[in-house]
């Protein structure tokens, strides 16, 4: 498995989020804010986001951890732990 840096994970998350909510201005996204509220992301969107992260990074996010990828900071920390990022 490729080693990802936190910056890689941040970029990957934002890239997939931009595909789910293309209308959003992610440059001003509060990294601690819940994207479900900030960007009108519903539970189907979260499911698609998780599926996309799986395809992109090879990380399988179980249902119980969905809630951990609903903020940028939370997602980067979670993905880093799961992937052993540097």
């Amino acid at each position: 498995m490729t080693a990802y840096s936190r910056d890689d994970l941040r970029a990957a998350y934002l890239a997939e989020l931009a595909r789910i909510a293309p209308e959003a201005d992610l440059s001003s996204l509060d990294p601690a804010a819940d994207v479900r509220e900030e960007l009108d992301i519903d539970s189907m969107d979260v499911l698609h986001l998780v599926t996309a992260l799986h395809a992109r990074l090879g990380v399988d996010v179980p249902e119980r951890d969905y809630v951990r990828v609903t903020t940028l900071d939370g997602a980067v920390a979670y993905l880093a732990t799961r992937l052993g990022a540097t």
Partner: protein
Amino acid sequence: MGASGSGAIAARGTNAAAFGGVANHPRISKTRRADEPAPNVADYDEARSTFRWSDARRAFEGRPFGLNIAYEALDRHLDGPRADHVAIRWLGKHGEREEWTYRSLARETRRFARALESLEIAPGDRVYALLGRVPELFVTALGTLRHRAVLCPMFSAFGPDPIRARMTIGQARVLVTTERLYARKIAPIRSELGSLEHVILVGDDRASTAVPGTHDWATLVASAPDEHAIAPTDPETPALLHFTSGTTGTPKGALHVHEAVVMHHLTGGWALDLHPDDVFWCTADPGWVTGTSYGIIAPLTHGVTMIVDEGELDAERWYDTLARERVTVWYTAPTAIRMLMKAGAEPVRTRDLSSLRFLASVGEPLNPDAVVWSQEVFGRPFHDNWWQTETGGIMVANLASAEVRPGSMGRPLPGVEAGIVRRGDDGSIEEIVAPDIEGELALRPGWPSMFRAYWGQPDRYAKCFADGWYLTGDLARRDADGYFWFVGRADDVIKSAGHLVGPFEVESALLLHPAVAEAGVIGKPDPIAGEIIKAFVALKPGFAAGDALSLEIIGFARKHLGPAVAPREIAFVDSVPRTRSGKIMRRLLKARELGLPEGDTSTLEGPGSS
């Protein structure tokens, strides 16, 4: 341990030829635990044969003020031991907990009614709510009904376009929303909402607000006097306005009257098996009719404690809630159940869900394997039931006292006359009496919560009725034992995650994008949501199809329509197929999407003709 309720999946012979795949799903019989109350409907046939609407209505006569939903939900309990029973246990997004008794909730609704009076809102005026699952929603709803104004709840997941359409059609006079939703969805379109006089804002984290052109809830409502007498309310007084979608045209506002509470109450007992000591959790969004009929009214008329969770669907959170709050009756939706299935059985095994007695589902047909799954995991089957915005209450249901047939919506409730009909070319209606034949599900009008109008659209209302039937637009069949089975929609309306989405509303928004020449929208089958919204788009000259434009159009649609209504997939086509008269052939788009035979295309407009 998971739920320890007993129950058996018994294999029985079914008519495999008639039922196709359904025969693979054996019926589920149930046995009652010794500590459980007897089901409210002990014997289905007897309940149906002895039931009379005149008796049911008589039970609601003799109230001091006629028949008012708010009285039935709250005031009626205030002279007895239920007054200090917990009506709402509210669970905030971030772990907050708040309890409202029948007494304290009633007091707050009197204040809200007084606040409406102070704003000179007249009975019959429309009060719109754009709120999440917060206590203020319940106060708004019941305070509005006390005042005999008309409550119109909206989805907070709607974008500005659907909101504007609904507020314009219903001529909203008052809107109750949050500071955040106001800034995002209302402020940009406020100048276009000519009828809207008053906006009442609930502060984020419920703090006071100071937004120009709005009222602050904490000032206006919390400081209003808490004395208010319900004025005489005729049972036919308008009470609730719920918007729904058709294939064509603008959204339709189904109007219900105060008498609907008779149906809410009865069906809460019959189809949800509510008993006084129940802890009831209806997970529906308050913007949907289920969130009002069964998320507000029915549990309160039964005097039970209801759980209100502000948070979004999350398997761990939901199972924690079921276990911690000792939920006994749970009413949810197929999309949520399928998401829970994805999370597997493990989270159930690690929790004590033994309090669960009755599980029900609505919103779209519940797939049989989800019913079987629930029996295996919870030891309880989900009971699917069927109704729609127009019916105001549950019409057809699997009952606590009867075996569950996985995949079936159940049987018509007492007082409900349902049939399978065929529409003739001349508009006549023929009932199909023989079993196992597909046709349109139809109902004999006359139940209390039947819609009384589509707001301002008498022609569309009239079209729903023919030869003494209300035509539901759903295709179904009835088996020889009287169980109904959903087949599909008779029109092109899309059912996505329990939301009814009108393709015309989506197509109209897409056409506003500068690159879009034509758009046709369908529901594409999806394992979780039932259907997702997919748009077929033909571009204007000079625009190049591709990923970038596809994302741009999706973003555009999300901005206008909101995530629940915007397409999640775009396919570019040279032209959208139309009939010779110019109607979009959505069925053909769907057939192509599914790789099905396209059928008779002789009325299709050929390429090149215009």
